[in-house]
Amino acid sequence: MILLILCYIINFNLSAEDTKAAKIDFYKGAQEFVTEIDSIMSNKQQLKKIESDENFEGKVQNIEALEQSNRDLSISSFEAYIKKYPNSPNTPDALYRLSKLYYEQASQKVIKDTENYEKEYQKFLRGETQVLPPDPVADYTDAIRTLNRLTKDYKSYGYRDEALYLLGYAYFEQGNTAKGIESYEALIKEYPKSDKLPEVFTRLGEYYFDADNLTKAVYYYSQVLEYPDSPYYENVIYKLAWTYYHKKRIDEASGFFVSLIDYNQRKFGPDYSSSTMNEAKNYIAIGYAESSKGIKGAYDFFRKIGGRNYEYDVMQKICELYISSDRLNKALPAFDFIVQNYPYNPSNPVIHEKLINSIKPEQNLKLINKERDKMIKLFGEGSVWREKNKDNIKAIVTADQIIKKQLIGIALYHQERGDANRDRKEYIIAAKMYYEFLRKYPMDALVVGARYNYAKILFNLGDYDGAIKEYTAVQNYTEDEKLREESSFSLVTAWQSKLRKENPRKYSTREMRPLLSETGKLLPPNKLNDDESVTVAACKKYETLNPKGRRLPHVWYIEAEVYFKNNNFDDARAKYKAIVEKYPNEKVATDSIRNIIASYTYQKNYPKIEEWSKVLLASRAFDRGMGKDEKEIQSLMTGSVFKRAKNIEDEGRYEEAAAEYIRLAKQYPKSEYSDAALYNAGLIYEKIGDPTEALRSYRMMLAKYPKSKHSLNAMFRTAVNYEQQLDFNQSLYFYEQITKKYAKTNFAVDSHYNSGRIRRAFSQYDKAADHFMAYSIQSKDQKEKASSLLLSASLYERSGKYAKALNAYSMYVKNNKKDLDGVMLSHVSMARMYDRMGKGTLAYSEYNNAVKVFRASGSPTGTAASEYNAEARFKMLYTLSSKYNAIKVKSTSVKVMKSAYENKQKLLQLLSEQYLKIINLGSPEWSIASLYMIGFEFNKFSDFLYEIPVPKEINTPQLISEYKGQIQTQAMPYEDRAIEYYEKSISESARLKVANEWTQKAKQKLSQLKPAEYKDNKEAITVVYPSVDIKDYGFIGK
């Protein structure tokens, strides 16, 4: 028995139950030797004693030692017996026993070798030895040799089939599979009814299965099917199923798996279940799941075999396989297939839930939602499934739990979609879901959470009343601290939103705006309306329920907003200040400060604005948002100082206002208002008549903020003030700086004018003219353009810059054709300059131009133009006059004399006529001049006659005397005419009350021609004097 145990342990090492029977059977034939063996083995009692030993390890070692000893003794006994009785009838039995002992001995050795091998191998692994130990090798040589002898020499030996079996077995163990197969084939052939055949077929099947010769394996396995009572039968079915499974012949494989299950059910009853059976079902499911046939193939298979009570399990398993392997595309139709073919199966909701849960929300929320909808329809209230399973309480309860969870899931899904896109449709769907849930499961544990979510949706849908109701319920009923805080806060925000919705102007989210009158004035504090009071109450309740609530500052902020928007600034600021004090690092703290500032802004309390702006800038929370924001606050702060200064100014406290402006510039030099502040201070100082301080402000502004947008203004004001302060050099400097730096501006235009004025005052006529010219070009006022151009021309002329003057006058003529006086002045002025330059031809041309222009204008009399016309006509006669004066007689030839005389007389006639025409023009000045000139030309003719040389023919003193007498007779009338016209010019001068250079000239001439009557008077001095007088300020009092 012990040997059997040992053989069992050594040779098979299989799972106990499955192989136990086969092993016992395998050794059954050897029982007859037991007696003999027992006799050979002497110490049976000793063995029992050892078996009772409590120490198992020691016991095993002892047993092994004993067995080894017994085995050696038996071998030597049998060897001795065979040697002694080589042909005894018992020799075959002895050989058979001896071969088995050899076999045991070899097996034990292998065990020992294996143990040693393991030890050496561990040493090798630890590096204690450098040589890898040799693999242990079984040596069944003695057993094989003995069995060969037995099977060959004793063909009729009754246990020869056993011997052949053992021989085959030993060969396989020895690794000589060919000899092993040969032995097994001999057994099959020679002993077709041997009870060893199921095992031999099984072993051969296993061999070929392992050798991947599945055809032969199937052949040998199939042989075992003839032995349904064989312990190998179940195993072989299993192996056949597996073989077909490996060959991907799923129908055949499934057939064997079903056979296996059927076998067990037949054997142990229909409700029997085992791991092998479950494994078989799984492999059927796996087989179909992995094949192209899928769940429908499985279904068809079961239809073909008439169905089984576990086929739903297989279907479910297939579906689950799809789900677990993320094959949603197969899982979904598989589930549909199940629902279609097993519509009332109680487990359908479970599968469906698994299916839904397997869908990744982030990838396919829509599908999840669709499946959830489907679930409710399939298994929810009113469904056929529910009706069919109405008696299956467990199924119904399970389905309800699943549906409930999915209902919330759907609602959440739509809620999230609504949140993502602010999609009202989604919110509405979600709201309906929550509502449905709350209606159906009012006592469910999820109700509070569902109400919270429902409230949120209502809030998002703008149903603030609904949201308020739900949030209030959650706030009252929840025992969850976090949810209470959430709902309390949400309730506050819902009230806030309701206020905004119903009072959109008052609760505009765009700005913190208090109540203002139509004219924009701040109204007195307002009593809170009902909704506002409840909002404030909600805020206070939040504080009560959540004294350390994380959003307490936000709640205070909302409460403060209500106060703020009702002009209850003190209450609002109390809350804001609490936020600032208790939550200084929160962003809401900075917002609170901003609102405090805003409140003071509305109240125009600028010192407070400045104070709180400083607080804001110094706050730690604010530091996080530096940059642009800081600039804004700086701007607000300094802007408040600016406004304060402006207010003071508006109140007429000018000096105080100016001081405040200056403080702004000095205290906040980087403020965007500093430049304007200095500029305004300057203006104020101007206003209060302190130009020194005004200039100081402007100069400071220009020095510190040269790029300010007010620089130009300030420069101009600086110039103006310097001018008013009589510092004309500084004034001129700034005016001219403006013309250079800001040449394109209107200020530059005016600065040119003012620079021109000052330069002219300095008698710097050419530079003044430059400025007036620039002004003329840039000015948009046509009248001023013209007048400044003419002024420019006259100043150029005065400064001797004739080229520029000529250009300016020409421009004037070109651009002001309608101004006859101006155009005439320009032509005449140009002509005068040409005269001064000795350019007579050009002068004549300009005078002629003047005459033409005047003629073309219709020759208006009594105008400045008519005076210029007269002057031009007068001066144009200079040429003729010169020609006339050039006629002189130096020859004594009578012919020449006569010709000259006649020519000169003709010209005298012509000149006289022309000058008389000028007199007719009616210009007093040029009439007197013309009268003088007529006299002058007669005077010249008289001189001409006296200067004629005495002809050579007159060569005696008497003749010469007579000749001179005749000349005098000839000349006298001309002289008389000259006197006549000189006198006319004087008398006309008196008549016209006009005296000029021509009057003086005429007097001089007359003093020469009629000295007795006309004396050459000296020129007296006339005195003009400014009014240097004490001013009379008129009567005093009424």
Partner: protein, 371 residues
């Protein structure tokens, strides 16, 4: 001159500060006094409106002022206003008395100081004028009107730098006080800086000054700068604004004189002299005008009068010299006049001045006559 912009971003310019300078006190009112005073003031206003020519208005005003001052001795306004009508009526001694009473009863009576100073000036009593002006400044320190008066008197005494300093300070302190601009322009004029003078006068115009003093000064600048065409307009405007300003009348007369309208000139000069009989400039010019219309005796009388009124006025000597040569053949006397002219003018006269030519001519004649 509107190019000097005053921006009104925050600023609205004050009105001219004249009103602030004058310290006004309302007289105490009783039923009787109000009647006389009101009547006096109405008549005085009518008298002024008539160019101080309507005698009836004058008499009515005077009698009523006398009633007021008799019943209320300390009525400074009444004394002042009475003094003013007396002044324009030519009742100078009474006017002075009246104004002195005004000052007695109101020591800070700026207008009274001014008018009294003006009278002293008309009387050519420069010392009295200066003394009063200095005293007034002492009694009412920092008053723009009185300071400007002082500057005017400095001009009259030839102390142009002092005058300039005062009025520049005044303008810097109060840019709206236009009389100071006129005074400063006068300083520049007398310094021969005509363009600058015009610039300053025009600033006064910009600041709202609209007096005949200003226009006449701008007019004579035009004459000085050979812009005769522009001069007449300003002079006419001056005459329109201040028909009783002797300077205005003199300047207009001079314009006529230079233009050959001798009759017109004589009329203007005489009008000026009616207001200020000792006005030396008008006398000198009138002499020239008379010579031109051959009223030589009248001319000589005028020159003599001028020399007696103001022996320090050089042009009187020059013109009288010219007159003596041209119309009296008194070369030696003329030479004395020319030499006196040179002495008084001093370094102001260039060596090309015609006076040297005239002197030379006289000297040549003297040599010739000796031969």
């Amino acid at each position: 001159m509107k190019k000097v912009y005053i921006f009104t971003l925050l600023l609205t310019m004050f009105a001219c500060g004249k009103g602030e300078e004058v310290v006004k006190e309302q007289p105490s009112k009783t039923a009787v006094q109000i009647d006389h005073y009101t009547l006096a003031m109405e008549s005085a206003a009518a008298f002024e409106k008539s160019g101080f020519t309507n005698n009836d208005d004058y008499e009515t005003a005077l009698s009523n002022f006398e009633m007021v001052t008799a019943t209320e001795r300390m009525h400074a306004d009444a004394w002042f206003n009475m003094g003013r009508i007396l002044f324009y009526k030519g009742e100078i001694p009474r006017a002075k008395e009246s104004l002195k009473n005004a000052i007695t009863y109101r020591s800070n009576f700026v207008e009274a100081y001014s008018l009294l100073t003006k009278i002293y000036l008309l009387e050519n009593n420069l010392n009295a004028a200066l003394s009063l002006a200095e005293k007034a400044n002492e009694l009412v320190p920092g008053n723009n009107v009185l300071m400007n008066n002082l500057a005017v008197l400095y001009i009259k005494t030839g102390d142009l730098p002092s005058a300039k300093k005062i009025v520049e300070g005044l303008i810097r302190h109060n840019t709206k006080f236009t009389p100071a601009y006129i005074t400063l322009g006068n300083v520049y004029y007398l310094e021969g800086k005509y363009e600058m003078a015009r610039f300053i006068y025009l600033k006064a115009l910009d600041e709202g000054e609209d007096s005949g003093d200003l226009y006449t000064n701008i007019g004579i600048i035009a004459i000085k700068l050979d812009e005769g065409n522009n001069a007449l307009g300003f002079l006419k405007k001056a005459e329109e604004k201040s028909p009783n300003n002797p300077y205005v009348l003199n300047n207009v007369g001079e314009y006529y004189l230079s233009a050959g309208d001798f009759d017109g000139a004589i009329k203007e000069f005489n009008a000026a002299l009616k207001i200020n009989p000792k006005m030396i400039e008008a006398l000198v010019n009138l002499g020239v005008a008379y010579s031109n219309v051959k009223l030589f005796n009248e001319a000589e009388d005028i020159y003599k009068k001028a020399l007696s009124y103001d022996p320090s006025f050089p042009e009187a000597y020059f013109n009288y010299g010219v007159f003596l040569i041209d119309h009296r053949d008194q070369n030696v006397k003329a030479l004395a006049m020319f030499n006196k002219y040179l002495v008084l003018k001093g370094k102001e006269i260039s060596d090309k001045h015609r006076v040297y030519r005239y002197i030379e001519e006289i000297n040549q004649k003297k040599k010739g006559s000796k031969k």
